[in-house]
Assembly symmetry: C2
Homo-oligomer: 526 residues x 2
Amino acid sequence: MIKNFLGIILVLFSLSAFADEVEKWGMFELVIPGFTEGNPFIGIDLTAEFTDGERIFTPEGFYDGNGIFKIRFMPDKEGLWTYKTHSNRKELDNIKGRFTCTPPSEGNHGPVRIRDQYHFGYADGTAFYPFGTTIYEWVFQTQETRRQTLETLQSSPFNKVRFLLVPPYSEKYVSGPLKLTDFPFEGTSKETWNFSRFNVDFWQHFESCLQQILDLGIEADIILFRPYDDGKWGFDTMDDATNDRFTRYAVARLAAFRNVWWSLANENSFLDYFTEDDWDRLFKIVRDKDPYDHLRSIHNAGLIYDYTKPWVTHVSLQYYNVVRAFGASALVRDIYRKAVVNDEINYEGDIASRWGQLSGEEMGYRFWLAYTGGTYATHGEAFEHPSEINWISEGGVLRGQSPSRIAFLRQIIENAPPGGWDTIDHYYLRNVIGKHAHCYLYYFGKEKIKQWEFALPDEGLKDGMQFKVDLIDTWNMTITPVKEIFTMEKLDRYQFIDSRKRSVRLPGKPYMAMRIQRIDTGDKNE
Amino acid sequence: MIKNFLGIILVLFSLSAFADEVEKWGMFELVIPGFTEGNPFIGIDLTAEFTDGERIFTPEGFYDGNGIFKIRFMPDKEGLWTYKTHSNRKELDNIKGRFTCTPPSEGNHGPVRIRDQYHFGYADGTAFYPFGTTIYEWVFQTQETRRQTLETLQSSPFNKVRFLLVPPYSEKYVSGPLKLTDFPFEGTSKETWNFSRFNVDFWQHFESCLQQILDLGIEADIILFRPYDDGKWGFDTMDDATNDRFTRYAVARLAAFRNVWWSLANENSFLDYFTEDDWDRLFKIVRDKDPYDHLRSIHNAGLIYDYTKPWVTHVSLQYYNVVRAFGASALVRDIYRKAVVNDEINYEGDIASRWGQLSGEEMGYRFWLAYTGGTYATHGEAFEHPSEINWISEGGVLRGQSPSRIAFLRQIIENAPPGGWDTIDHYYLRNVIGKHAHCYLYYFGKEKIKQWEFALPDEGLKDGMQFKVDLIDTWNMTITPVKEIFTMEKLDRYQFIDSRKRSVRLPGKPYMAMRIQRIDTGDKNE
């Protein structure tokens, strides 16, 4: 594992610090006693160079209160790592050490990356199919609600959660039962914020929540800025220098958590105070300061951010009609040439706001349209309830009918063909994914189809190939094998049909899908 | 009209050339006898500064054969214009003159520009709703076919045509009945092209065709590059310098025709020899050399060009599924923040290629989806016929069922509310255009609706406002007024409904639309 052995030896001789052990994609934390005088949040340059002898990573350190400075590092390779700090303060400078990176523990697949342009995968090569949900404010709830949220997540289909780093303004956080004492900055109100000093208690609490999400094996889509301030706190109207420092501090503290995804903002165009240049600048800060290149996106409102920009790793889209239309998801992929997560598609629920009025059927429908369009989606739920605990805001429990359907979809999607799903003939077909000549997943949505003339796009097919069919009732969550085996015969330059020209009979119900799998080969997927 | 009178007088005193008259947005052509020796297509810098005393336009000149150089100019303001040439050749340099720009003749509204971000309008302020068609190779046909094409266009609903500047490779143009003698460059085959010399006969013929289109009041979407070369002629694999010179020559010759739109390419990503940087560079040449800022776009194939780039004035999209899905057209607008023309949506026809197999109903459906989505579309037709004259390639006559339906749609669209159509509540509603509290156009597509609960999005509405309804059968081309008058009453934060909770009854047929117009106001649109 240590390829540059001589280099390592030379470094070792010059080291005076102790050795330690950290698992691959775990977090090494260097704790440096420093000083409290002045404002240790400002004007202190602190980084460390971490090297495995071949590559150098340079995470920024941060002040964690009580005179303590920290530098966090997520090693991505087993073996010996050494480090050396650099600072404009003598106390923090030239501190050296080493640690051993051990194999990842079970369930640790590393951070999630882009896979095959339009998809996601863990660093260890395992495919990751995002099935997200939204719990914007869960971090700011009571311990009991947080415990319940984690418990709910654990038995849910969701493997990615979107939540806010900064609370939205709400009376309940000011004077209500959830009155907050900790905010990202020192102070307790618009009048008393000290934007030059971070409140480390707030950040430590946030990190403990983030660690709990990580412990569940769930990805954390962390939203840095949000517009929900109502002119009350001013977290949405800070000056550029404060926004930049806030962003750097967040990256310094959080980037070494392997499950982090950066979401620059929720509903970014509602943040009137920010120009598109501001978002570009903040994106670049995240890109340049995060040594691990975690996923980066921004969640739009009406005005859609230009996701073609090079610092955007994937599209985090709010555009409900994309997941209401056959063919639209693939279009978004084609326009941006990037992976697409439909991160807000309205919420299952019954609240007065129309964005929270989806039926379970409709939420399931939108999920199926997203996934069979070659993209991904994120769930949310907003039911009126006496507890006033609402999944999309506070977390707690799930009450809707869609999570079980999403779990069913997830099973089907995770049972992927070798190399994964991708769109099939998507300039003509709509919402068909699969792998040519291997397997196909057709979704019929609200159409009440009674028969489907067996016909497949020609790519990869040959006369005589045989396929079996499963009818999938996406609402009732059943998979029913069709008795017939279909044998391919070329029809024209585009299609193969069944040699006996048979159709597949369907029950004439909405929300049906169909899985077609080749059976005359050893490499079928079930 | 001449605001800077003193400036003009001063210029006048220095002029020696004759005066002339040209109508506004007409073409002034300065003809300069020069020389034939050497290669007058290469290395001759020739421009003229045209000024109305306030602004200066600097079109490039071009060599037109037989020792003649020309500079063309399209004045955009009535009154006196003066000019002065600049050249690195003494014979062509420092030629001065003036002409008077007279009022535009009837039907001359100037070039088409972007209007209100997502729409089009003539320079004189008249709205322009593009209803395009495609006749790629019409310029290269016999005189009789060209005559027929123009005759067909004259009685068609089409006010914009897309066609190629350079013929595609075809046996019929090499040895068949249409054997071409003229090509953009001198020579008659891959072996004999002289890419450093243009064939002025070819260009003059092209211009005469362009003028005929102009005379019909039709916009010309001229395609500069195309991939249809099949390795035979090499017009798709010329070097950068040749492509640049070709583009500049086209702009110098054609930009002064007021009906020109620049289409950098058809199916650009099929031109393997061109990188995206090449397209960017060619776009910039057109932008920088065209003094009149004619519309600029590029027509994509599989890989979609990044239409967010600043030199793109509007989206010229080939993505069939956009016009097959409710809500998708508005999405494309929102992504690019530009006007969208669906310039290829498959063709009505019966040919073996699947892109030419639309029924008339389907073509009409796609047009309605485009226009009620706040975008525009372009027609094409490809029927097998003994004459082997096919509208999308050669022109001739129209045989399909969609043109009459497109004419019907055009009437409805041109009967626009003050300020024009735009999408209504398009993050939730799909394919509804209109003007809030004034008029609404709903399209129902293939849904066979029997009743529609009268409900309008709340914007601009007040209790008591009254609306009438027309049922539009888009296939049978009928407009049937509904007897009832509907009176508005607020339902909730999003909607107004009829105060008597009535519905509109529909005939349960596909391809229906509904026009809702306010009647309790003087400014209704019919």
